[in-house]
């Protein structure tokens, strides 16, 4: 119960902090809109190629913009003293990890929801039924969990390194290949209005579990010794 209370508190205060500066969500959104625009200029959304690559486009937009939000998890004004304060509180590192993953996940999902809406307008995507839209949402949420779970750990690891923002992306993007390959594949089906297969969902879900477990273990190691991390 105590761990759950701490978990909820950490998420709540992360959101209060974000509400004061709004820089995480706004920068992610702005970047996502620019990326979508560039894609729509480069490839005619209505062309055959445009339709074929749109699943990849949406996930590439999520990846590039979401990395900004992940980067912000442990960076920004006063982030180090805030982190010290949290590490000195009677909160376990595991609770902190899941709270950070959840709040970052929610920030990224807000960006993804708005981006998906704009994407549908730009690329003239229409979901034939609520079920089709639901399938798309499920796959986006599953893909984002994998993305954020490993991203938060890497963000903690690179937060004090000079050029850590770049290093974060260099480490994060290759690790995301399996989740993204599976998510793009499933998104193709969802955009075409086809049913998702259990295999597709299990694949993305399995990567999520592996990344969450690995992220949690690494996160504890990284933050067990503050000055060395």
């Amino acid at each position: 119960m105590k761990a759950l209370r701490s978990y909820a508190r950490l998420i709540y205060w992360d959101w209060v902090r974000e509400a004061k500066r709004l820089d995480t969500i706004l920068s992610m959104l702005l970047f996502a809109m620019i990326t979508l625009m560039i894609f729509s200029f480069a490839i005619d959304p209505m062309s055959e190629t445009g339709v074929r690559v749109r699943a990849g486009m949406i996930w590439l937009t999520f990846l590039l913009s979401g990395a900004i939000g992940i980067d912000r998890a442990f960076r920004g004004d006063g982030a180090e003293s805030v982190l010290q304060g949290i590490l000195l509180a009677p909160v376990s590192r595991v609770t902190l990890y899941y709270a950070k993953v959840t709040s970052t996940f929610l920030f990224v999902v807000v960006m993804e929801a708005i981006t998906l809406f704009v994407f549908c307008l730009l690329y003239d995507v229409e979901f034939e039924s609520a079920a089709a839209l639901g399938r798309m949402i499920v796959i986006i949420l599953l893909g984002t969990i994998g993305f954020v779970s490993v991203g938060v750990t890497l963000s903690a690891m690179t937060r004090t390194i000079k050029g850590g923002e770049v290093l974060l992306r260099i480490l994060l993007f290759p690790l995301m290949i399996p989740v993204f390959a599976a998510a793009v594949d499933a998104t193709k089906f969802a955009l075409a209005g086809d049913e998702l297969t259990m295999k597709q969902l299990v694949l993305v879900g399995a990567f999520d579990l592996v990344y969450l477990a690995a992220g949690q273990i690494l996160f504890e190691v990284i933050l067990s010794d503050y000055d060395a991390s």
Partner: protein
């Protein structure tokens, strides 16, 4: 004989190739005020951070309030309050909001009356709605002291608490240490102000090169010995 509240055996901390602390053996009684002296880089802050579980020892064993630091770090953190050079809340938060955040995070019972009295005591009541990033160095230090006062910790670890403070602020730190001792709490006070440290403590410890080189009961007569050891 009273059981020690802090028990340190063969404690060592290494950063890469450099030993920040080596072979520290200490036992601190409950209710004791200890002044820690030493030059910059002698290991004082590292020692406090280890006790607060912010760092992991390279060697040795530490127990705080009977709890093994390596296995019960969360429970140790609930009993210890560490003051560092900056308040632990986001700079865009107002002082009032920051204290709410801090006490919420530390699960400290807290109400408007407690808020008022703490802000009054640290002399920041009129600035309670101002964001921390508009505070001067001394005011930020007072905000950190407000965090310390907002908690009911058994052990206070104060790292250079007089830094940036005016005479009133220094007197405030003195009163916090005295009140904590009077209430039976234990205080470890890192300071470069030897006279003040000796006056505020029952025991003085001098660190040099990551080792304890002097550990004596505090008294005004100890000043020369401390200064001599400090070189």
């Amino acid at each position: 004989m009273t059981a020690a509240v802090i028990e340190v055996h063969d404690l060592g901390k290494r950063y890469g190739e450099r030993d920040a602390l080596r072979g520290i053996d200490l036992s601190i009684e409950p209710g004791c005020s200890v002044a820690l002296f030493g030059h910059n880089g002698s290991g004082k802050t590292t020692f406090l951070k280890l006790l607060a579980t912010l760092l992991k020892p390279t060697t040795g064993r530490v127990t705080v309030a009977g709890l093994d630091l390596a296995r019960r770090s969360c429970a140790v953190r609930a009993r210890v309050s560490l003051l560092l050079d900056r308040p632990f809340f986001p700079p865009r938060f107002s002082l009032e909001e920051g204290l709410r955040y801090f006490t919420d995070l530390y699960e400290q019972p807290w109400d408007e009356q407690s808020m008022k009295s703490v802000l009054e005591r640290v002399g920041l009541r009129r600035r309670r709605l101002d964001p921390l990033n508009t505070f001067s160095r001394g005011m930020a230090q007072r905000a950190s002291l407000a965090c310390v006062l907002s908690r009911d910790a058994e052990i206070l670890l104060l790292d250079e608490p007089y830094t940036g403070l005016d005479p009133d602020g220094c007197a405030l730190v003195d009163s916090i240490v005295d009140d904590h001792s009077a209430a039976g709490g234990t205080t470890l006070l890192v300071t470069h102000e030897v006279d003040r440290g000796l006056r505020r403590s029952d025991r003085s410890i001098v660190f040099r090169g990551g080792r304890v080189v002097l550990d004596e009961p505090s008294s005004p007569e100890l000043k020369d010995a401390v200064l001599e050891v400090l070189g």
